[in-house]
């Protein structure tokens, strides 16, 4: 998501980012679609090729156990089931 956002903010096509960064255009497309994840170093190279930089920071990580469980359960369902569950919940 960050690569695409950086590229669009820089007004670059995938081909232009490929030229600037020296990375394969098809690989950039896969990273942007979240099919595979680049390493942190590669991510930073790509973002810098867009004229931006990453500023990693440590922030508190509060796990919402209940929300996490619901999310995992929903992901095991089909989109059809997710829709029906949401509509049933609305009716309650």
């Amino acid at each position: 998501m960050l690569i695409r956002e950086a590229r669009l903010r820089a007004g670059l096509s995938q081909g232009e980012l490929s030229e600037r960064s020296g990375k394969d255009r098809a690989q950039i497309a896969r990273w942007e679609r979240d099919v595979v994840q680049p390493s942190f170093e590669t991510l930073r190279e790509l973002v810098r090729a867009c004229g931006l930089d990453l500023a990693p920071a440590l922030v508190p990580y509060d796990v919402d156990e209940e929300g996490e469980t619901r999310l995992r359960e929903k992901l095991l369902r089909s989109p059809q089931d997710r829709l029906q569950a949401m509509l049933e919940e609305r009716r309650r």
């Binding site: 998501m1 695409r4 956002e5 669009l8 942007e32 679609r33 979240d34 099919v35 994840q37 929300g67 996490e68 619901r70 999310l71 995992r72 929903k74 992901l75 095991l76 369902r77 089909s78 989109p79 059809q80 997710r82 829709l83 029906q84 949401m86 509509l87 919940e89 609305r90």
Partner: protein
Amino acid sequence: MPPATEPEFDPMGIFKALDRARVTFIVIGGLARVLQGTDELTNGVDIVPAMREENLRRLDVALGELNARRRDGKKTLAVGDVDVLDLETDLGELKIVPEPAGTRGYDDLRRAASREHLGSGVRVAIASVGDLARMTATLGREQDEPALRMLHRVAELDRSIGHGLEL
């Protein structure tokens, strides 16, 4: 004259009307997030239509069938005259968004969209988790932050599934 009571939200009815008119579109917004797995409630259907002339004519037919009327009271239903065509229909809210925030519209979103069965023979194209996060982040609304966090988590869990890990 709008109905005195809120219509029962029937997204399947809206999708069926769009399907009957053979409208090409992608579902975005809260309903798309729900279909992708987020845990939230939503009251309407948001779509990005293909902006080809023929498709807009088909959309017009579907809007007629749904008795769509603008929530701001204006009469015209022309797509493209406004950033978001915000409609009330007999089956609930319907927003038509030719170019959602942070995207270049239908052709931009369709590459990563997936087509999913929703039952009763209805199959719709749903924007990808990544594109939904991009749109939500671009809007920058505080009320969308929980949804954005869920989308990021859905993306992480999806990748776990893709790598064969247990949820």
